[in-house]
Point group: C2
């Protein structure tokens, strides 16, 4: 359950991957193909992406196989011949993968991952690979933006109830942690990925007691070291006064109320007033936690208005990346056999052949620009970013732990100059196309125009 496997999910694919495979099989087309996974354009307001989902992609490729029950289902569709189904039975992924490590920053048109292998294997993986990389990259990017808005304040993933399904609930917890969140409310994600888990009470808890203060006292009895009181069920300020009373009762017993949580209303104004009331009552150590509709924009607005908030629960809007709920992400054939290939469909031109991303840094160590080049080019003074991850269907070395990938992200993100991190109207990070790739691109396009558009 930790990882989706290729055995469980061999059929989690678009039917056309299988019909294409059947035709390749009939035509005897088994040459090596390279597919490139990349994001075609920036959604409004986005200016960078945080790579995530590679661990899932690799787990799938390592274990891809069709079970008897899958083949029986395919047979029942009456679309496929017996020989092809027999062939599918022994299909495994035997190719190679180059990829950006999880937590890397990347930009429009840059390949996140390139798969090379016999065309049927590399084609079959398309749907799952896009699905896995798209979601986690989408969420890690949104979460990174939230951390920019929050500065030093702590962020906790609160999104599970409204993520798009159970798998998304788990992946959102993982990807937001990768991008700097401190943990999640999602208990299963805590268990599977080793994340810190957070949470105390909902409004239903308060309303189930005959009075608000009795609910507060009961919780403090059960969790004297971990009490964060939700104070907005009836009225935030009246709730704060009762929390203070309970905080003082706890103090009299040598206990410390840990925090209060606001979940509705004018968060800046309420948090300022609640902070004042707490401090006046000698409870300056009690933290203020805020939740309810937060994303990077509401965090920034609330802090700009002077909100006294120590930590945020960031829920639905991050968990579905509400302003940008998908990326224009694609997995395109860029080479087949010895032939670099591309399509020309309007607005969707792709860069041909096996590629590499080259990154330059300035003398402060800040990122100053990238080039997309051919895999075997060498660009002086630039660092190549895609690294070999799998060869002959096997992982070359264990992937970094999630904690290590989180650390890597934090280091890399510190190297991205602030003009690219603005929440609105960010500058566009410079990405050039290398001379080698430009020349090859022009040559392939010329050949196709001559041949197909006469």
């Amino acid at each position: 359950m930790t990882r989706a496997t290729g055995e469980q999910f061999a059929l989690l694919t678009d039917l056309y991957e299988l019909t294409m495979a059947a035709s390749y099989f009939e035509e005897g087309m088994h040459e090596e193909a390279t597919f490139s996974l990349f994001i075609r354009k920036y959604p409004p307001g986005r200016s960078y992406f945080v790579a995530a989902g590679l661990a899932e992609a690799v787990a799938y490729l390592e274990s891809l196989r069709f079970r008897e029950e899958d083949l029986a289902y395919l047979e029942s569709t009456r679309l496929f011949k017996r020989e092809f189904l027999d062939f599918l039975k022994q299909v495994r992924f035997t190719g190679e993968v180059w990829a950006l490590p999880e937590g890397s920053l990347f930009f429009k048109d840059e390949p996140i991952l390139e798969v090379t292998g016999p065309i049927i294997e590399a084609q079959l993986a398309e749907t799952f690979l896009i699905n896995a990389i798209n979601l986690q990259t989408l969420i890690a990017t949104k979460a990174a933006r939230s951390t920019v808005a929050a500065g030093h304040r702590r962020l906790v993933d609160f999104s599970l109830r409204r993520t798009q399904g159970t798998d998304a609930g788990l992946k959102v917890a993982r990807a937001s942690y990768l991008a700097g969140f401190v943990g999640t409310s999602n208990v299963l994600a805590g268990k599977l990925y080793g994340l810190p888990v957070f949470g105390t009470m909902a409004h239903s808890y308060i309303t189930s007691f005959s009075s608000e203060i009795e609910a507060f006292r009961a919780f403090a009895r059960a969790f004297p070291q971990n009490t964060v009181l939700l104070i907005d069920t009836y009225d935030t300020i009246a709730g704060a006064r009762k929390a203070i009373q309970v905080g003082q009762e706890m103090a009299a017993q040598g206990q410390k109320l840990r925090g209060v949580r606001l979940d509705s209303g004018d968060m800046a104004a309420l948090s300022i007033e609640v902070r004042r009331l707490l401090n006046e009552a000698g409870l300056d150590y009690v933290t203020i936690f805020a939740s309810g509709g937060f994303d990077e924009f509401k965090i920034a607005r609330t802090l700009a208005a002077g909100g006294c908030i120590d930590a945020f629960g960031v829920g639905t809007k991050m968990g579905v990346s509400a302003d940008v709920p998908y990326f224009d992400i694609a997995y395109k054939l860029v080479r087949y056999g010895h032939r670099p290939v591309m399509k020309l469909s309007s607005g969707k031109v792709t860069y041909v052949d096996k590629k590499q991303i080259f990154r330059r840094y300035d003398d402060q160590g800040l990122m100053s620009g990238d080039s997309i080049g051919l895999r075997d080019e060498a660009l002086a003074g630039a660092v190549p970013l895609l690294t070999p991850v799998m060869a002959q269907g096997r992982l070359l070395k264990p992937l970094p732990t999630l904690a290590a990938s989180r650390e890597y992200f934090l280091q890399e993100f510190a190297k991205l100059p602030i003009q690219y991190k603005r929440l609105e109207d960010p500058s566009e990070y410079p990405v050039a196309i290398s001379p080698g790739l430009q020349a090859l691109q022009a040559q392939v396009e010329e050949r196709i125009r001559r041949q197909e558009l006469e």
Copy 2:
């Protein structure tokens, strides 16, 4: 794998469900609680909702239990006492569920589902139930809107690659079928839910051959009865001419080219021109399939511009409900023991107690208005919609099949007057609050204000 189970997913919950449960346990609070699941407001442009996800919710409740490894994980968090973990071990859902059948239409504030049971059981289920109902209802609603735009034309779910995770990929296929789609590209969803599956080829297929027409011919060899040629890889009109040539070659062998697919460019203009070319060549039986960024809005625009399209592949924007990627959906305690309860948090007032939805129809059989009332009220001339689904933790009778729920949706949707179905600026369907509920609501609010806001 067909259904998420409560055994797999007992920990797929927010931590606070468990800390609240621990406190209820310590306080000896085991009385019956009723929680109500509803959508608090219409997102922009939405005017109705299509209920979906009940089968998932029921499967979870029927099998909810904490395994040893779950309890061991909870113990490792050091938040919980041994007695509580022992108690959790034997927790099962023993309560009752009233719900709208899948495929029902409902409106703002109307309960989709009400759960009554010992408070710990009913509380623990919160996160999963919201997650399950939110996603499928979100997608069924978006898909229903797409069918309104498409009229009699067929719609196929093409969203898997960019749905938010694997679970969403499956649920989107299911929910869009429930709401009138004819099938999906998602093979695993086809297998699990018995859905028709569709798909032929991607651009990579075309580019892997040395020329476009050779790719077309190869596919026709492999699938003479199921050939839909993707014609926009290099240029749609040049592609159409090659498709016509292959269509004529097929005709000469007594075969019929089934269709062509457009995936980019000006869909209305291109489809008109392609239709003309096909008809002139005697291929009037060849259908035109369109995909690429379609949702209800692009379908409507394309058809309004005269697009000659027989079927649409509807992908990402439906699959993530891009304009409205979540609902403001909540699961709120409405009664505990003998006490109806509510919260007052700003802008988030909830209706108290066990409820029922009553629907009226006009003399043409069209829906004319609903009332939300108390469960045991009777409103003359109105049909109660929530039905008992589970009692004492057991399903009362098998849920309808997906095919039956789809049929039910189609019947119900035909009864919704068109002013509520407009894609933009729809009228607001009338939903009243019954006299009984109004009186109780006022009484409870008065009591709370007196007690908590002095």
